[in-house]
């Protein structure tokens, strides 16, 4: 048998239930894997002692027959989530030395269900990026490589530490966040499963905010079933987050029936972009075929405002970010660069504390909210947002879910994309979902010509993650994606 850390969440759960191994053994196995994988730079903070302590507590609970749904499962936590007593950086210099005295609601839910924390995973600084190249703590390296090449590839972003760690089997699951594709794009780049649930499904309390109206927490795992298990524990209404929705939390795992006969799958013509790579097109066609074979009905649909989504997204997201990041000023916590007066303290702290991409977005966001530009940019972007939402509402009157590619390309090489706009185009298939608040999942579905993973995305109705898991399960099975990155790092 391979290592314990190679198991899926469901596999670990079964093994723990059957007393094949202990939570402590699981944690030890993961800790060993993490220590061996430092070349990937997936973790900002490893927390082996904390992991072992939590694992021992889990073993005690298992012994008493009090195991929670995630008892003893070791997980990685994106460093955007505040964790009590453990350094939390959002991969930014400006949060130097920041150790929260509180626990985010989502991670508290996970620990409440028995999960074990392995450490904090790197991401793009404040979740701003699509390649994990904006982290203050250096690039995260994708465990996957192009066939016959040693050139490092990006793991996607912003949840690149999460996707890399899960793909490299350092942990069976990791928390992530998705503002414009930050769960689904890294999942697609690493052959993992990532779901962005409906806006309001998971509490945002205790997660450093990027763009409040778009941010959602979600898991990255290796299988659809694991994503269902993990999301169930992460989600739930939180009175501390006014935008969290008080709605019944279904047993997502139970939705994995394998039966999608008669379901209606929409194929949006606007996602067939000019100049789209043939392999992406082929993968999409293949996906359509798999669902049809499983008894689903394929329906061509139109989402006419798709083309406006990306610019509108970058206006809304950056506007909110410019305001959300104002609190990092050197006065209360984190980095402080002294100045002769308060203005200079602000300027020096923020100049030193934020990286180039974060600064770019703060500037853009400040600009679009400025007097005289608000109507032309922010207000118009909000109107576009309404239209995008309406597009989806209309098609969801007749269909159950939408199938699209997750990304326009497979993972690219670090340093390859230097033009910000070129980088932003990575989000072309994913941002519409954030703009409309809908849930979407990325499923590994095949390999590129270079031998790296490609994903397909399913978009669902609001609070209908169950359909995504059901159809996603079928897609996963049909794709039979069982490739794993060759272990070059250990």
């Amino acid at each position: 048998m391979s290592k314990l850390s190679d198991l899926t969440i469901a596999g670990m759960r079964d093994g723990l239930a059957g007393k094949s191994f202990s939570a402590t053994e699981l944690a030890e196995s993961s800790i060993t894997a993490i220590e061996a994988a430092r070349d990937l730079n997936a973790f900002v903070t490893e927390a082996p002692e904390k992991a072992l302590e939590m694992a021992r507590t889990s073993d005690a609970r298992i012994a008493k027959g009090e195991a929670g749904p995630l008892e003893g499962i070791p997980l990685g936590i994106k460093d955007l989530y505040c964790t009590e007593g453990t350094l939390t950086t959002a991969s930014s210099h400006i949060l130097d030395g920041f150790v929260p005295g509180y626990e985010s609601t989502v991670t508290a839910n996970l620990w409440g269900d028995g999960a074990v924390m392995l450490g904090k995973l790197a991401c793009d600084e404040f979740a701003m990026g699509s390649s994990n190249e904006t982290s203050y703590y250096g690039n995260v390296i994708n465990p996957w490589r192009n066939r016959g090449s040693n050139k490092p590839l990006v793991p996607g972003g912003s949840s690149g530490g999460s996707s890399a760690a899960v793909a490299a089997r350092l942990c069976p699951g990791a928390t992530a966040t998705d503002t414009g594709g930050s769960i689904r794009q890294p999942a697609a780049f690493t052959g993992t499963v990532g779901i962005k649930p409906t806006y309001g499904r998971c509490s945002r309390w205790g997660i450093a905010a990027f763009a409040s109206s778009l941010d959602q927490a979600g898991p990255i795992t290796r299988t659809v079933r694991d994503a269902a298990i993990m999301l169930r524990s992460m989600a739930g209404h939180d009175p501390k987050d006014s935008t969290s929705v008080d709605i019944a939390l279904p047993d997502f795992e139970a939705a994995l029936t394998g039966d999608i006969r008669g379901m209606k799958i929409g194929i949006p013509k606007e996602y067939r972009m000019d100049g789209m790579k043939a392999e992406i097109e082929t993968l999409w066609t293949q996906g359509i075929g798999w669902l049809k074979d499983a008894g689903a009905e394929i329906i061509d649909i139109s989402l006419p405002h798709t083309k406006y989504a990306l610019p509108a997204y970058y206006i809304v997201a950056n506007a909110e970010a410019s305001s959300n990041l104002a609190r990092y000023d050197g006065v209360k916590y984190g980095l402080r660069e002294q100045g002769v007066d308060i203005t200079e303290l602000y300027e020096k702290t923020r100049a030193a504390g934020f990286g180039a991409e974060v600064k770019r977005r703060i500037l853009m966001g400040t600009y679009v909210l400025s007097a005289g530009y608000y109507d032309a940019y922010y207000l118009r972007a909000q109107k576009v947002r309404t239209l995008i939402k309406r597009d989806f509402e209309q098609v969801f009157e007749t269909i159950d879910t939408i199938l699209t590619p997750s990304t326009p390309t497979a993972a690219f090489a670090a340093g390859e994309k230097t033009d910000p706009i070129d980088m932003y185009l990575n989000d072309i298939f994913t941002v519409t979902v954030n703009m409309s608040g809908l849930p979407a999942i990325s499923i590994p579905a095949g390999l590129s010509s270079e031998g790296t993973p490609l994903g397909l995305q399913l978009i669902g109705k609001a609070f209908d993650e169950e359909t995504l898991f059901r159809v996603g399960g079928v897609l996963e099975e049909a794709a039979g994606f069982d490739a794993a990155p060759e272990n070059w790092w250990a």
Partner: protein
Amino acid sequence: MYEEARETDPKKYIAGAAGDWELVVGLEVHAQISSKSKLFSGASAEYGGEPNDHVSIVDAAMPGMLPVINEFCVRQAVKTGLGLKAQINLRSVFDRKNYFYPDLPQGYQISQFKDPIVGPGTVLLDMKDGARVEIGIERLHMEQDAGKSIHDQHPSKTYVDLNRSGVALMEIVSLPDIRSSEEARAYVTKLRSILRYLGTCDGNMEEGSMRADVNVSVRRPGDPFGTRCEIKNVNSIRYVGQAIEYEARRQIDILEEGGSIDQETRLFDPKSGKTRAMRSKEEAHDYRYFPDPDLLPLEFTREWVDEIAAELPELPDEKRARLMSDYGLSAYDAGVLVADQASSAYFEKVATGRNAKLAVNWVMGDLSASANEKNVGLDQVGISPDQLGGLIDLIEDKTISGKIAKDVFEILLAEGGDPRTIVEDKGLKQVTDTGAIEAAVDEVIAANPDKVAEVREKPRMAGWFVGQVMKATGGKANPKAVNDILKAKLGL
């Protein structure tokens, strides 16, 4: 567009070197909502405490913290809107007002910009000359207070106290309907009185629970509005008046010298009584308002508002009308009494079941004079409503005269006690025994034959005889009886 509600009133003009000027004032009053906890966090909103004692991780803007609206504060704002006879908006929106300051931990203040919770309303002022002035309310919105920067504790550092950070405020914005500093003072006084009746703000200006931004401009009568200056954070009613007086004169002087007014923000210095420039329009912040994505639009039902409306207490205007009709109070007296809840309650306790006219005279006369002298409220003069009522009872049942009553009042003020006991112990009872009065009258007539002759010529002289008789009886004789007997004996 704002249409001027006020007719121009030449009596209010300010004389300039060359012709009259009209003053135009609008006020933005920041009133702290009476609430145990802050607007968006569970931290205590209590005044005082050690620095940074009342600060939650939400108030300190820790990463990932989110605001949750305090329903009680919303209720208080709605209640205030109803008290201002204003439109209540069933849907309002919280916006972020972005600027950097160390005592603003989030880097933005959560406020309501485009869609406030309360729309247009009115406040009625009763001026000393009997005029009723209606001041329009443009809007009321809720917002967070900032913390406090303390600059005098360290030679090079500024300390920050976040106790006030996140405390709930109502900003009540008037229309530019105010035309004199007196009206401005009356407006703030009336507003404070309404808020206190409602229990939505304690109105303690010295603790910062209420403060005003005062917008002042001047113009030639009949002209459109002039350029205004905003005087920030004026924290007493007296200073509001002083700041306006100074600022109006400053602007008139500039204009009369051919200058023009720069639109700017100014500060009032109570020590010098002057205003000075704080920042110009060019330096004004671009606050980059946008809807706070952490909060849903604030929505409630008409039924909920009706429920709050049903719980409203009697407000100053209604109470004033009732006091006038129930007790025959003059408009001005009633206005003075209702300005302070304790005063009107005091009055009602005295007046209930008694001669209202007497109650009014005593409360508005001697008691008010003492209160003014001591600079306290009517209820703090040191004479209880029961004591004053007892004194009035003694006048009514003719045990003592009004004149003796004044003496008893002084005794009550100095020594306290029960009025009836005082009258008995000191032998102040009125003499109504006509025999004794007749004897005294006879004595005075016999002793003053010359005066008797005079009074027959000039009947007005009778007063002199009354005085002599009262003196002879130690003031205890019933004045009416003295009069009657004198008239009979002198044949007037």
